[in-house]
């Protein structure tokens, strides 16, 4: 089967890629673009490990074909940090024990980012609801909730400054 050639917009950069048309976005990111920060746990849309943001919304990259992503603005964990400075969610996850083995962490981070971008003052229940499609076997989730809350608190002044 011939490869498709297309331009994908990932982490703020436009990139030309060639890949087999049946490949999922997950496979294109990992195998054709070297963005191995996005993980896989089932490739059936069950675990949330492969979550990325598409136009700011969390999507499961294992359920999306690469060719469906034409014109979408994709963000992976590699795009969260601004230059060498970590995103407040990344800082909080690292400081507060929210990443143990770290395998589910990229999926949790981008999903939490989508939540806080939309709802900077999310409650514990809203955080639980937003992250309920992401499985973690290590932490018991509590330190993840706390890290999201800590990041939200840290980000709050910036949001208030916005008109």
């Amino acid at each position: 089967m011939n490869n498709v050639h297309m331009r994908l917009h990932v982490n703020g950069e436009s990139c030309e890629v060639a890949f087999a048309p049946h490949k999922t976005l997950l496979e294109v990111l990992r195998e054709d673009m070297g963005l191995i920060g996005t993980k896989h746990g089932c490739e059936l849309g069950e675990c949330g490990a492969c979550a990325v943001l598409a136009d700011g919304k969390p999507v499961l990259s294992c359920l999306l074909l690469g060719i469906e992503c034409d014109g979408m603005d994709i963000m992976t964990v590699e795009g969260m940090a601004g230059d060498a400075r970590l995103h407040p969610l990344q800082e909080a996850f690292a400081d507060l024990g929210a990443a143990q083995c770290g395998y589910c962490t990229p999926g949790f981070l981008v999903t939490a980012k989508a939540l806080l971008d939309k709802k900077p003052d999310a409650t514990r229940d809203e955080i639980k609801e937003a992250l309920s499609g992401n499985l973690c076997r290590c932490t018991g989730y509590i330190q993840i909730f706390e890290a999201v809350e800590a990041a939200a608190a840290k980000m709050a002044p910036a949001h208030r400054e916005k008109p």
């Binding site: 143990q100 083995c101 076997r137």
Partner: protein, 838 residues
């Protein structure tokens, strides 16, 4: 969270033990590998890509038990992209994790023993091509009768699944008796007898197993793998491939969750290694989620019969435990698992006399092995549920019943486990107070209840998996004039934070920051041996080795610095990246200057440290499983709300206290406790490794009921209750800075506490794990119809037990030897004259 007992008077903290303030140990910190994990830069095994890399897929058996008549791979070899096809013929040498169970082949040579047993491997240029070519392999099978459960295994000696084992389809039977148990039971005021069942479940790491084998430029083999035990994989590769171990390098990639499921050497690791040797190209394999369910090695389903004799006040006079394990198709860790279903029953409470008989059977299902708690959660569930029944029957508060008979610190148990520190009393008091137990137990309205459970666990297995008299853990340090300290250790980072513990301990001793240390871990080509991340051994064993290495480095620095400053060496302190006169802290040198001076004096700087556990007091055959340098303790109170109509169980809060000895990094310790509670609730409420039979025309195959993350239910964010964690810090003299384990122990008390809470809430006993709404409704229905308000197994099948090895307890004149043990073929002794046991 609160902590107590921060004194460090008797801890194994080396130079820091004289009451000096600790700068790193005990402080909540970002773990040293935290940044890599939150930026997606941690390289897991499947994140490795090499030029010209080939991909491997395994053809797995569709039959649960069959002879392989023939395999035709000719069409597969001709398929697009295929470079190599391997079958059992390519792997004549068996392997297995235990020396007594060398019963696996990388690909089955003549017989398959469960649906999922690998029979052939295709190596192709892409994963899709390898997958497609699997369909081109023709395997002719001769189906055999299948064994689906232990009762059937006991009743069906032929056909045998393996041609080794105690008899028929019985893999292993053990019987140990510590004092005359029948006499003690006859003298007891009450004897309680219960039969309980603990269902099997699986680890479910989010990372699927993956491995990449590469032929290095010098022609030597290198395997990168998601393994918890690179040292044992190294040995298995050398054996199965008949290569010198010195020509093989195994690198454990950070595991994306382990929980025991990546502790065996696996088929796929050996297959890709062979494929790399044959093709000369890198070969990768990553299992599908379904394959991970069939790899398994998880919690054994265990049927248990427990008879306990007590005095009027509920104090235990004797315990008699029988366990029947469903081992699945291979040995794996099973012999150890069998012993573990009995070994730690005596470590929590005083048990003056004890008999344990355990039996593991082979069945045609994926092999069981070690999962968090390895063999001990099942009998712990039985004992703690029975204690709750005893308390109710005798009108005692379950907390008081436990508090009155906690095992003695610094004592030997009936089966010769040597206990050090015990923080269990404080654990119980903390959860009782924190949960409001005294105001809740038997006092909440119908549908709400609380339950209590306690437990203890190993801080590392006292003996290695194969007989040897070598260190269990080794650490090397390299210091150079830049001031950089590099630590080398074979310990394996599986998410628990072993890298962070290593850095913290060295940083504390040398007075530098954990981030100043470069870590090289889990690499058999570069690091001294550490046996692996299992049995909660890493913090204690690697930690003690790290202290020794770091103290030796300190000694190298001390002389030159003392002379330079003109103060006695004994007055030097190490902190804040400085070496200074503790009586005049302004007088000192930077750590970098100190290393410079030491390198000038000694030449190139390097030290080593190693650790080997103390000798066990258990000298009887089988006494090698259970001894540990120290034991951790936990207590939990679980609150439940149950809808009596639907049986639906809601857990609002769990209070848990864990005797950690000392926290190295409290942030990670709390994460281990909460993660244990989470995994325990999964086991207690929903997780099941369950199989069903396909119709006879499909060979009556035993297939997994739900090999997917969606249908194998595990708790999500929405099911996770609030957890109140108390860390009890009673430093143990055997632990590094007094630290004990936390990775496994806190899981154990939760399952029985939940079952006990269900009884408190609605008055029915669910003597089985998992405790499900359906079982509660059944028990409530039985209650309403005047039948016993219980769901659980009926009876324990007849097992032909061997005569028990009789070992008099320490208080009955015993010395740790059995009085009726037949002479062993050989009693190997190590160089120190210690007897070594399996």
């Amino acid at each position: 969270m609160s902590t107590t007992g921060a004194g460090n008077g008797n801890s194994n903290g080396g130079s820091k033990k004289d009451g000096a303030a600790l700068n790193v140990i005990g402080k909540p910190r970002r773990r040293v590998d935290g940044r890599a994990k939150v930026t997606g830069q941690t390289r897991f095994a499947d994140d490795l890509f090499f030029p010209r890399m080939l991909h491997c897929k395994l053809l797995r058996s569709i039959h649960p038990h069959a002879r392989i008549r023939s395999i035709d791979v000719s069409r597969a070899l001709a398929a697009p992209g295929v470079k190599l096809v391997l079958t059992g013929r390519d792997f004549p040498i068996p392997y297995g994790i235990l020396p007594v169970s060398q019963d696996e082949h990388p690909l089955c040579p003549d017989k398959v023993r469960f649906v999922g047993d690998p029979v052939a491997a295709v190596i192709a240029t892409t994963e899709d091509e390898a997958f497609d070519a699997l369909d081109c392999i023709a395997v002719e099978y001769e189906p055999l009768a299948t064994i689906s459960d232990p009762a059937q295994a006991l009743a069906t000696p032929e056909p045998r699944i393996h041609d080794y084992g105690d008899e028929g389809n019985v893999h292993k039977r053990v019987a140990l008796e510590f004092g005359d148990v029948e006499a003690a039971l006859a003298s007891a005021d009450h004897v309680f007898e219960d039969v309980l069942f603990y269902q099997g479940n699986t680890h479910l790491p989010i990372e699927q197993h993956a491995a990449v084998a590469v032929l290095d430029p010098d022609g030597k083999l290198c395997l990168w793998s998601a393994t918890q035990t690179p040292h044992y994989v190294h040995r298995a590769l050398a054996k199965a491939l008949a290569l010198p171990a010195a020509h093989i390098r195994v690198i454990a990639t950070p595991n994306g969750g382990g929980f025991g499921g990546k502790s065996d050497p696996f088929h796929h690791e050996i297959v890709v290694a062979k494929a790399a040797l044959v093709t000369g190209r890198p070969v990768k394999i990553c299992l599908t989620r379904e394959e991970v369910f069939y790899c398994h090695r998880g919690r054994h389903p265990v049927l248990m019969k427990i008879r306990t004799g007590v005095r009027k006040d509920g104090s235990i006079v004797a315990m008699d435990l029988e366990t029947l394990l469903d081992g699945g198709a291979y040995g794996s860790y099973g012999v150890a698992s069998t012993f573990y279903t009995g070994a730690l029953q005596t470590v929590t409470y005083k048990v003056p006399r004890y008999r344990f008989r355990g039996c593991r059977t082979f069945t045609n299902k994926p092999p069981c092995g070690p999962k968090r708690g390895h063999g001990t959660p099942q009998p712990r569930f039985a004992q703690e549920v029975q204690l709750d029944k005893i308390a109710v029957a005798l009108g005692r508060d379950p907390a008081d019943l436990r508090l009155q008979q906690i095992a003695e610190p610094n004592s030997l148990t009936a089966n010769y486990m040597r206990i050090g520190s015990i923080g269990l009393r404080e654990c119980i008091e903390r959860v009782v107070e924190g949960s409001g137990w005294r105001k809740k137990w038997q006092k909440l309205p119908l549908g709400r209840g609380v339950g209590l459970g306690c437990s203890s666990y190993l801080c590392g297995a006292g003996l290695p998996i194969y007989w040897n008299d070598l260190p269990h853990s080794g650490v090397q340090l390299r210091l150079d004039r830049s001031g950089e300290v590099t630590a080398f250790c074979g310990a394996t980072e599986i998410g628990q934070g072993s890298d962070d513990v290593l850095a913290a301990i060295i940083a504390e001793v040398l007075g530098i920051d954990p981030f100043d240390i470069r870590l090289v871990t889990g690499d058999t080509g570069l690091t001294p041996v550490d046996l692996g991340s299992y049995s909660s051994r890493v913090t204690l064993m690697m930690g003690n080795a790290a202290i020794q290495a770091a103290e030796r480095a300190r000694e190298l620095l001390t002389g030159p610095v003392a002379r330079k400053l003109g103060v006695p060496a004994s007055r030097l302190g190490f902190a804040d990246r400085r070496v200074f006169d503790v009586e005049n802290p302004d007088r000192g040198l930077s750590f970098v200057e100190a290393v410079w001076l030491a390198e000038a004096e000694h030449g190139t700087l390097g030290t080593t440290g190693s650790y080997r556990p103390p000798q066990s007091a258990a000298r009887y055959k089988g006494g090698g499983v259970g001894p540990s340098p120290a034991y951790s303790y936990s207590a939990a109170v679980v609150e439940v709300e149950i809808d009596p109509g639907t049986g639906w169980i809601h857990v609002p809060t769990v209070w848990i206290a864990h005797d950690i000895g000392r926290s190295i990094n409290p942030t990670l310790v709390r994460g281990q406790v909460e993660g244990s509670v989470y995994m325990a609730l999964g086991e207690a409420l929903m997780e099941e490794q369950e199989f069903r039979r396909l119709p006879p025309k499909l060979s009556s195959a035993m297939v997994h009921k739900f090999p997917s993350l969606l249908e194998y239910k595990s708790p999500s964010t929405l099911e996770m209750p609030d957890v109140v964690t108390y860390l009890v810090e009673d430093p143990d003299p055997k632990g590094p800075f007094g630290a004990k384990e936390v990775g496994q122990g806190p899981l154990l008390p939760v399952m029985p506490a939940l079952a006990n809470a269900v009884y408190d809430a609605v008055g029915v006993r669910i003597d089985e794990v998992p405790v499900t709404p359906e079982k509660i409704v059944r028990a409530l229905d039985a209650q309403a119809h005047g039948r016993p308000a219980r769901v659980g197994p009926g009876k324990f099948p007849t097992v032909r037990w061997p005569e028990a090895l009789k070992v008099p307890p320490p208080w009955e004149g015993g010395d740790g030897n059995a009085i009726n043990e037949p002479p062993r073929k050989s009693k190997p002794t190590d160089k120190g004259g210690r007897q070594v046991r399996p």
